[in-house]
Symmetry: C3
């Protein structure tokens, strides 16, 4: 298996067999770290961190050094030329001429995609705003696999802030790809957003069951499950599902409890934060005495604040510092594969559990823009280079997903490029949520941000335009 010159922008850039191949190389490197010095001799990694993250940056840099490679770093946006209104596309092309691989963290969602497109060398996304952080997901999966021996058929509980922090969403999709059963245990007001649940349903074809945990006593010893997701590859579990109860669910034992902290930095008003912080669920010794947790791996992407009590640190089930340490072999394996200085045998007999749905690309010019203000496609310096780009992920109602940041939007008005009998007087637009809209084939779809746009483009109001 070769990954030479590939990028890692989202976890979906790697197939399940590729992830497993990468993990077997990581195993090999972990067992003989000192022998890897020289694997990337003469190679240069550019470490471009436009947002603070000591942990991730030092992990990548140490991994490159362990491989005998070299590192050039730009750590702070204030110390870069970007202050002079340079586009990251230009920056990517210049750094691409100096280094052999780029690791980038940037506050704009989709920024790593733009860098990968322009740099001309392999690019790794080390976090693009709230969008993706695929090497964190790899470390999480690697920890579970390393400690459980497999990634198949596991039961993983996700705890805390499931609303913000889409890195947790990436993990959810990745777990679904490997056939996991996922228990969602959010803090109040921090439940998983509808669009993630919907995506689990439509793209990963799993079974979703919700629980009403508002009736649970606040001091109940019961584990506060909000919903359970099961992939379709676990048929006997599905059969059991109708009779399942919270207690039954837990009796089988949870393989891993993945704790997250309140994502303050992605949130709005300080007052709400305080309130959410107060009610934020804490994982402590008492909780881990509960039923089903006897062998549970306690995980956390770190840094933690108060949601994971220090008293748990010495518990043999605590994996979070090991999880951080596993970042080293995982990133070493990734760097050497993308740089082409290593290859591994593809694991046999594996296939993806969930087949990734390929949606049609919407390519027409339009005034429709991504609705995410943090999306790279909405930044003044970048619009010179990149145009909004979407995939049509649904037609009931018409829904576009931004190629850069994965945010979804619903345009107000639509038309079909194939108007009735080819007559121009039939060139009409309709409301996007009308039943008429569902009949347009994706390849013929035209979207409008407003009626004004439609009319300016010579379309007339159709029957379903109001």
């Amino acid at each position: 298996m070769k990954l030479t010159n590939r990028d890692l922008v989202t976890i979906d850039d790697l197939s399940n067999p590729e992830i497993k191949g990468l993990f077997s190389l990581a195993d090999e490197m972990a067992d003989a770290t000192s022998e890897q010095y020289g694997v990337c001799k003469g190679k240069i990694m550019a470490s471009l961190f436009f947002e603070p993250s000591t942990r991730t940056r030092l992990s990548f840099e140490a991994a490159m050094h362990r491989l005998g490679g070299r590192v050039i770093s730009a750590v702070d946006i204030g110390s870069t030329s970007l202050a002079k209104d340079e586009s990251i596309a230009d920056m990517a092309r210049v750094v691409g001429a100096y280094a052999d691989i780029i690791v980038i963290r940037h506050p704009w969602e989709g920024a790593a995609r733009v860098v990968a497109d322009y740099a001309g060398i392999p690019t790794i996304n080390a976090g693009d705003g709230g969008h993706e952080h695929p090497t964190q997901t790899l470390c999480d999966l690697y920890t579970i696999r390393k400690e459980r021996g497999t990634l198949r058929g596991l039961k993983i509980a996700l705890w805390g802030d499931l609303k913000h922090g889409r890195t947790v969403h990436s993990l959810i999709y990745a777990l679904a790809r490997f056939g996991a059963t996922i228990l969602f245990c959010p803090g109040r007001g921090l439940e998983l957003p509808e669009h993630v649940l919907k995506r689990l349903d439509t793209e990963y074809k799993g079974e979703l069951r919700r629980y009403d945990n508002r009736e649970q006593e606040p001091d109940s010893k019961l584990f506060p499950i909000d919903a359970v997701y099961m992939t379709p590859t676990s048929p006997h579990q599905l059969a059991m599902l109708p009779d399942i109860s919270l207690r039954v669910e837990l009796k089988e034992g949870v393989d891993a409890l993945y704790v997250t902290r309140l994502q303050r930095e992605r949130q709005a008003p300080a007052s709400d934060q305080k309130e959410l912080g107060k009610r934020y669920p804490v994982v402590d010794r008492r909780l881990l005495k509960g039923q089903g947790f006897e062998k549970t791996l306690v995980m956390h992407p770190l840094p933690r604040v108060d949601e994971l009590a220090c008293e748990v640190d010495s518990d043999p089930r605590s994996m979070y510092f090991k999880q951080a340490a596993y970042g080293m072999p995982v990133r070493m394996a990734l760097l050497s594969l993308l740089l082409g200085t290593k290859e591994v045998a593809l694991p046999e007999g594996h296939r993806s559990f969930a087949k990734k749905v390929q949606y049609p690309v919407y390519k027409r010019d339009s005034a429709v823009k991504c609705s995410n203000a943090k999306c790279v496609s909405n930044q003044a310096t970048e619009t010179k280079y990149i145009k909004p780009e979407f995939r049509v992920v649904s037609n009931k109602p018409v829904t576009l997903r931004c190629t850069y940041c994965d945010h979804e939007l619903r345009p107000g008005y639509v038309a079909s490029a194939e108007w009735h009998q080819g007559k121009l007087e039939n060139k009409k637009y309709h409301r996007a949520d009308s039943h008429w809209a569902r009949k347009i084939k994706p390849e013929n779809l035209i979207v409008f941000a407003s009626e004004e746009e439609a009319q300016a483009k010579q379309f007339r109001p159709g029957h379903y335009s109001r």
Copy 2:
């Protein structure tokens, strides 16, 4: 001599023979710098600077590179995850999984101790607030030894700000350990604090003699000595002492004049600074023409401001740039010893001049906290991990010294864990400065921050509680 996996948090972590062993390795490395490339091949040093210090950081990083090792750096607290309220204990554990050795500078006093306790790899303190900066002390000692040929029986004058900047206090204790005679020449209002003088007395058992230099004319050519300290290992000097005068003292010649700058950043109001700055004593060509300075090494830890005139730079007695340069072999030797890639023969026939006093540890739970607001044990993020810890350094009056930052405090009330005849009604507390308090054995000592605390713990006011 092996120092593998040891930490260097305070200069006291190294015995006198270990310091001399380290210096002989530094000599060896200074003589053949280019041959050291490869000594630390494949090793990674994490350079964590949470306070600005180009000089120290670049010196450490260059030393590691000269040894063929690698470096990962986090330079600015703003660019780290710590902004997210992470504890340095957590940070230490994570970085400990990436690197082979940590060099840390941090504004909290005692921070390096916490990092050393949690990192699991050797840790070097590159300055923890105003507390310690042991490699600076090593460079200072190495310079004197290199240029004078010995560390025994020297006469060292300390000049300038002896009040703030406890790195100078560390140097004083280290000099005392090597049997030096120390002349204190402070600026007005910048005299050595009482607790340092007391510690010289009680722990290093030397002889201290004070002079009243207020009577000196402001423009006197006389060197403004404030006090002289002599270690007990110089008996013939002690004998001379009663008749000594300033002039006699100087006639013998000063081996080194150690100049310090006004520690503005550790001080309070700007107005006072201005006033102190005006009266700050300047070392210039004229002063160095004085009696006793014919062969004196002029030293300074740098950076300097105005206290050391540029006109002195070309004088052959000026050592300060050489002193900075000696940082290279000293730090190379230290890194390779702690990493275990080098060992040296222990110098024979050497012993510590001053035996370090071991004080009993106060381990009981108590509301008593370190009185130093900058102490790591008082930081919100750290109290989850670490409890206040003290040593009982005196019982007249009862005095505790913080294990982290070395600040001393005197609790208000005390009791004995061995109450009279074991009767609970004898469970009484007393004022800590009462003569009764002196009778409590250190292992039985109980301290209280207040009468309220004592009473809450079921103690009743004793005879000496008012």
Copy 3:
């Protein structure tokens, strides 16, 4: 050819043959980049950036890594000891003891000269305020030579902001040295300053012809040439000059169009910037369709903002990303030459086209100071070390050029050190712009900042003092 232990502070530190020798080494290194790993093994480069510049810094650091050398970096003035009022001369001496070569960027003009004077190791100026940026000039020249095959007899158009940004002025002088014909195409209000034009005239002895482009229509397709400069080594061109017109000039074809961005950061009021920005000339596809541009190299030092349209990026004439990439071999060659790990055969049969004029140094004490507030010689921390130093570049009127920053100033009053008949009553001063001043030999010249200074020095008003 050896350049061991030389500095590169201004482009004039290298002769034309040396530049060509450096370029032939760069060619060699570009053809076999991976074979250079080891050329600087064990050497340390200190990368000291007191102003933001990711591009230049990463380029230097990557170059050093490609050579197998090591790098220590200080990126932000806030994270250095300089905040403590240390002089850069002191800093240079300390870093000079840690590293083998220094690369420095600093906002003070002339700072690199001071560092070079005190560091004791080779020093490369990576930009000192608005003064010089010689490696940028080297990359520019290298790009032209690489793509055109020669540096002789080229026609280069400079576009945009020719007023600010003296790096463009450095390029102009360098082009003149290689015998180029230079077309100046400034934005309105951004014309080349008089002192540059004058210097081209007096030092490079070329022929200058100006055009009045105010009469051109704003939307004229005509290339807005403001002036043309020709070196004296192109005699047949000089002969043609009297009949030349803009159109004729362009018919011969432009070898390179060098685009610059508006130097906002060197300018004063924001309101003016906005106005200048609006009228700033843009290089786009339409302009490049013009006559004479068929084979023109489009160059830009980057970062760009809007003055160079993205639509041009894919044009085969666009050189700006290649130009950035050429920074790698050029800087690799430079580092290895200055470190003495490489030498090259001097190219034969080459000589400088323009002989550099050597002006006499003005060494007397005087109250005259450099008039440039950003000059290193005017900084409080540096005046302890360095005195103002000037060269006498003209005596009609008397003009001094600062040795550090190249700014010129005209003192108000002058005298001759050789007073008439040696009589003290003839010790008189005169106005510097009087015809009498022209008679003073440079070696006898005495300058005064004011009449007061002259009188304080016992000079009396002369006949031409009013």
